[in-house]
Symmetry: C2
Subunit: 581 residues, 2 copies
């Protein structure tokens, strides 16, 4: 038995807030030291926050980040630490410092740079080449970064061949639904394939469109998860692992299947670095074994939305949020999330009924705000609507249908009111459009799309219902009134309007959108899923012609495998038409 105590510091850092991020790292390092840890590990780019995007083009930003890294190294007395930072001399690298007892031991530079989906790492970083293994107090550990471990033949294999018993993999890995179970399987497989412990540490928190879910964990050399951090919360996960057992397990190679060697470009440069011994505090094993929680997709999504909302609002310097409440299900969901994220005193509802608003809707908005215990302002828009129609009437071409102009007008009057309140109060406006609306352009640009953050922009309508049910079930109350859940969706911008006047029913719309947007399927392939050509053509045409709206929409939280925003980069001027054949 050769015990090694490792702490995974799953922290919430803020992009650009170098000082606070550094203080948080030093503070957690100190807690880990007091708990007698050999090693404490922080996420990818913990110093700068992830992703720092074009801040990385500023040399003064890179220099400031180096100064913070230096401070962390100096504070690492009597412990070893791994943390992410930007290595910068002539080139710029996504890198991890390995320091021990106040001294820099080595810098590892990420080898595989993701440049797909939301990732732009080839834009900023040069790829690393050097691989090391560190011998620390008789144990052999090695570091790699995020994407590196997704490569089955990546640095991990070379590190194992050089004797590493524990692989420290640091991450800034954004959440989307179903991703965690894939990551979990992959890490378990990598650990078993290579007969090593893997400590996977991920950050938590929201950053613009991204949410990091944490879910840091330790896997043993058989691929079993031995400990797991909280989800969507900061955590310092301390675990004792027996690295001798890992070493012994390498006899596996003799007993059963021999592990194949791989050729790796940089393996000849591999360095085995001896870390000078340091004395650490001897503390009884007061380690934190967390029960692995069952996987609940809806609950994860809900928590992602809550954390993403809280962090965007707070990290952008706001405390309070305004939400236009129509009495519909989307705005109700957003209000419930916002109240949970920010507190009821920090959320204000605004009802802006028009001549087309039903009595039910106004009552429903009231009931919802009562349930959530938030204040509700009521500002009828009729007087402004009338004035606009009067001013525009002489300029409108009476031979043309003006119904779309009039519908959008109501929505834009509401957007203007919300922004006026925002300007006067200094509160952020949260918008309430869902992914089905954003996908089809069934939303008014500068109207209901006006605001700072689009909470459920990546949530399809059917999932909006599921989340409302989830909230009601979890709360044990009918927090979101059943009247709101049960009524047919309507924008209420003309008499007796219903969403399905203009759109296929959501039970058809949502899967078509998913096939087209998330899976890039052709029209023919979507037809093979069992949808009608008519429905497919309609939906695809709506998606294609509403790109300009999405380009001007506020950011929102990514929860699917492809969200609108950095994740999906479509041209606006685009005449491509896929056709059935």
């Amino acid at each position: 038995m050769r015990n090694f105590r490792v702490a995974l510091a799953q922290i919430n850092v803020t992009v650009g807030d170098l000082e606070s991020n550094t203080s948080k790292i030093i503070q957690n390092m100190s807690s880990a030291r007091d708990s007698g840890c050999d090693l404490v590990v922080f996420p990818e780019l913990a110093v700068t926050g992830y992703p720092p995007e074009d801040l990385l083009l500023k040399s003064h930003f890179l220099q400031d980040n180096l100064r913070c890294a230096e401070r962390i190294i100096q504070e690492s007395a009597n412990i070893a630490v791994v943390f992410g930072f930007v290595d910068y001399d002539v080139d710029t690298f996504n890198a991890a410092i390995f320091a021990s007892d106040g001294k820099l031991v080595d810098t590892y530079r990420k080898i595989y740079l993701p440049n797909y989906g939301v990732f732009d790492e080839e834009r900023y970083f040069r790829a690393g080449q050097k691989i090391s293994v560190y011998e620390i107090n008789g144990s052999k550990i090695a570091i790699n970064i995020c994407e590196d471990i997704w490569q089955p033949t990546g640095p991990l294999v070379i590190q194992r061949e050089a004797g590493a018993e524990l692989i420290v993999n640091i991450n800034g890995s954004p959440f989307h639904r179903n991703k965690r179970s894939v990551t979990d399987k992959m890490l378990s497989t990598r650990a078993a394939d290579n007969g090593v412990f893997i400590s996977y540490v991920n950050m938590i928190g929201g950053q613009d469109e991204l949410v990091f879910d944490g879910s840091s964990a330790i896997y043993d050399f058989n691929g079993s998860k031995v400990n797991e951090a909280k989800k969507f919360q900061e955590d310092l996960l301390i675990t004792d692992i027996d690295l001798e057992a890992a070493q012994n397990s390498r006899l596996h190679d003799l007993r059963t299947r021999k592990r194949a060697s791989v050729e790796f470009p940089y393996q000849d440069d591999l360095e085995l670095i001896q870390v000078p011994k340091f004395s650490k505090k001897v503390v009884p094993p007061k380690i934190s074994i967390r029960k692995t929680e069952a996987y609940d997709e809806l609950d994860e999504i809900y928590n992602a939305l809550k954390l993403g909302t809280r962090d965007y609002v707070i990290k952008c310097g706001f405390q309070k949020a305004l939400i236009a409440l129509s009495g519909g299900i989307d705005s109700s969901l957003v209000a419930a999330i916002a109240v949970d994220a920010l507190g009821k005193d920090n959320v204000l509802g605004v009802a802006m009924p028009s001549r087309y608003s039903s009595k039910g809707s106004i009552d429903d908005a009231k009931k919802l705000s009562d349930n959530l215990q938030i204040k509700l302002l009521n500002i009828p828009i009729e007087s402004m609507f009338t004035q606009f129609l009067k001013s525009l009437s002489e300029h409108f071409d009476s031979s043309k249908d003006s119904s779309m102009a009039e519908e959008n007008l109501q929505s834009r009057i509401r957007g203007t009111l919300m922004m006026a309140l925002s300007n006067q109060f200094g509160w952020i406006v949260l918008t309430t459009g869902n992914k089905s609306e954003m996908g089809t352009g069934y939303a008014t640009i500068y109207g209901d799309m006006a605001g700072g953050f689009a909470v459920i922009k990546d949530v399809p309508k059917l999932m909006v219902y599921d989340l409302c049910d989830h909230i009601n079930t979890k709360s044990g109350l009918e927090l979101i009134p059943k009247e709101i859940i049960n009524k047919p969706p309507s924008a209420e911008l003309r008499p007796n309007q219903r969403d399905d006047d203009n759109l296929p029913p959501y039970s058809l719309l949502d899967p078509i959108l998913e096939a087209y947007i998330e899976q890039d399927k052709s029209l023919n392939s979507i037809e093979e899923l069992g949808f009608s050509r008519e429905d497919i053509s309609k939906v695809v045409s709506l998606v294609d012609t509403s790109e300009y709206k999405r380009r001007q929409s506020p950011p929102g939280i990514k929860i699917t495998s492809r969200s609108f925003g950095r994740d999906r980069r479509m041209p606006i001027a685009n005449r491509y038409k896929n056709i059935f054949n």
Copy 2:
């Protein structure tokens, strides 16, 4: 003398419009054939348009592109052709087909993939590895793509070593000011360095934020430009070049400085491909020698704005545009550009005076529309403004200053009116904010920022003046009235407001913005340029806190080395503060 007749087909393609792009290629190929050309060359990704962005993630799009490429090959009887397309089997490549006399000869795959600035090519393409040289009718030519030739030790050198006499370099190279002279010097140097002819072909046209300026040209083995296509216009540039002279010039290696060899990863795979002889039409040398135009920065920028506006409007399916005319210089410039781009009957001005609009401004807007011969609607906003104030008054906190809310309100009423007219007429709204405003956030989101395309979004205020002078000088008329040019800039949202109440004078603001945004300078470095700490701090703080507005702004034409949009990817939640030290 071994004459080779080459046609550079500088065409305007549309992203996604595979059919039209293919027809245009076939048509130009036919013209080149009729002119007795040995070879006709088309731009990078001519089949798909550039950049196709995430269309490249759709396999049906890639397949359609392959079918178009096949058609072009089949149509290449009695001529050789080089054109850009997406090569796609298992992987996806930015590639060029070399076909001759109806048959595919070879495919070249771009080796160096730009992934900086507006470019995302690592997101989509795998890098090519194979280099070839083609022997065609006794002459040796080779192909590479755009970025490849920017590498002094790139494929060009290996191609020269294998005997290439003419290098065909195809491009989708977007315009920004001063770029062309850099490209010109580079191409001239590459040609002289390697003793080869270079035919550089670039596309023209606007695509979302980008404008391609054309400027296709041929350089001889001494680095002299022997012929040059028109700028910002389609062109088929036909030139006779003596490739024997290029071959003879290689004796240079013996007479003077010996050219160094380079090691290149893929050089051992180099293939010399014999192209079967084909008969071509014998036509007397009716070639098109264009006079190289003098370089005029302002005129280039003006033409970029004009072409970018025309193409965005037309390629998005509009014919007509609406512009809010305040009587200020920005909206006047945009109107002048739009009239030149779309025609006076396709541009409608809208004046929306408020209680704070000066008599002068209203008269100036009228005078401008008269000069431009466009119709001007007049819709006073007072009645709507009053209604909004009335509806909001009871909700406003009277202890707080509501002036910002009220200023923005006026702007948003105007935005709402513009969008209502847009909805009813089916015309696009062009916005009028300049780069100084976009940089500092001196603009109202959903107000004056509301619209489909932001024509001068990348034009700093001082350049707005220069462009107005340029227009007046070129027209020989006072097209933009001198009253508009001479009055102090004002948003006219409160009594006697002037821009310099809130902003440093533009003569200070613009260079500070350029240093901070285009050059990523630190506060200290900007101070070293001679600006005061107070002005620098103010400007930098305005830039940093207005990121959220820019994220929701309409696209606009890139004319500087760094524009807002794809070119500059800043986080919104960002607490980085550079400080003086």
